[in-house]
Symmetry: C2
Subunit: 242 residues, 2 copies
DNA sequence: CAAAATTTGTCCGTATGTATC
DNA sequence: AGATACATACGGACAAATTTT
């Protein structure tokens, strides 16, 4: 009578997490890198001895972390290991606490400030004319936009990424980009009055001028001044209060 | 001719991602916070008009980001929004590139250093006797362990988290913890020789002493000296070389 | 351009493990 | 211990997307 023909599956560890680890190990064992194709779902099923549902759920977990990337009707590939998961997680956290308090966002902006200040010494050391030209061009466009009463979001993002680019630290760049994205989504157009836009443009100019002159204290101060108005806005919500 | 009797399911967006967004919106709309229970899978199926598979795969994605948390046989709950996803993602990235180069880990340690240095001003400003006692106790245990030739991993983790604790910036603390965890997994016991252990303990003491005296340049230097040997190890692999 | 093949996406039905009462 | 409610796992069938023939 249908004894234990099927092994009772040692349920000390969950199948799904098992499969998740096995797929990660498969990538590591075979030395795959971003973009390399993975076996198809059915192949993974037979190779790992798991059902398609389990394999698919494992893949979902891994794709949320950008460890794998799925293209419908095409295949599954090793992901780009971006920080999308961080962006999504922090964005949700921000949206969740938003309304009653913007503490989360305030923390995030503080981290951005501190990261940039901490990078100051390295930034100044690596600062050269080429980089200055590129940043100067960005700042000019900011100033022009401010005069026209327009915003300059993209220029702002480029500025902060370009400021860090020369140190070739992928992680710093990605973190900065991630934080910027979260901030842009959770608090879109935080500063939009014309006066504030002009101030912000000026703050960016102060940053690159201090870097150009190799003046670390001035750089730290300039970064602080750049983030100060944002932090002020976040700590005392502008809208409705008695 | 078989007009749009059944809506042809606007397959511009995939069902799974739809469901993922709907679950996130459900949490936001109902103002749920960490620990609050979510509807059961079957309830979600009927409410969202999706199959169990789609709902389950969406939940897998969300649980990977710690936006929801699943307890087997009990239910699904709003997650703690930790940075586990970041840890897992970075850990995998480190393991993936490990062997040929430890560039990833080197970047990570640099970020840790820079974050702590950038925090210096705020740390010093908030530094008080109470905190110093706690940190002093940790450093003492480090020094004792170093004398006995033992390592002091847990003390190290506590030290760096406690150093940042007073600023009540959840994100900084979580990021630091996450980075520490990644480093511990990818490069376990990076420094284990007795001399290095003593050096490291001394570096920690230098950090708290400079903070105690409110000496920012000394603090920055102490942090740099703390991370310098680690970065050296990472940039020139110790093992096999002519 | 059209059909076929491949691969992932979705759905259903059912059985099993797990936690709570 | 038994009952209930829940998540986990499996297998099969069909839909949708992409590439190839």
């Amino acid at each position: 009578m249908t004894e234990n023909l099927l092994k009772p599956t040692p349920k000390n560890t969950l199948r799904g997490h098992e499969v998740t680890e096995q797929i990660k190990n498969f990538i590591l064992r075979n030395g795959l890198t971003s973009g390399d194709p993975l076996p198809t779902e059915s192949e993974l099923c037979s190779e790992l001895g798991a059902s398609r549902s389990s394999v698919r759920e494992a893949i979902k977990r891994l794709s949320a972390l950008d460890i794998v990337e799925v293209r419908h009707g095409h295949g599954t590939y090793v992901g780009r290991l971006s920080l999308n998961a961080l962006v999504e997680s922090l964005t949700f956290r921000g949206r969740l606490s938003s309304g009653d308090d913007l503490a989360t966002l305030s923390e995030l902006v503080t981290v951005r400030k501190v990261l940039e200040q901490g990078m100051g010494e390295a930034i100044i050391q690596a600062y050269d004319d080429e980089q200055h030209s590129a940043l100067e061009a960005l700042v000019l466009r900011m100033e022009e936009a401010a005069e026209r009463g327009e915003s300059f979001i993209e220029e702002d993002r480029s500025f902060h990424l370009m400021l860090l680019a020369p140190m070739n630290n992928h992680l710093v760049t990605q973190l900065t980009g991630a934080f910027w994205d979260v901030q842009a989504v959770v608090a879109p157009l935080l500063l939009t009055t014309e006066a504030e836009a002009r101030e912000t443009a000026a703050a960016h100019r102060a940053i690159i001028e201090s870097a150009r002159h190799g003046d670390l204290p001035a750089f730290v101060a300039a970064v602080a001044e750049h983030y100060a108005p944002i932090l002020n806005h976040l700590q005392e919500p502008e809208g409705n209060r008695g």
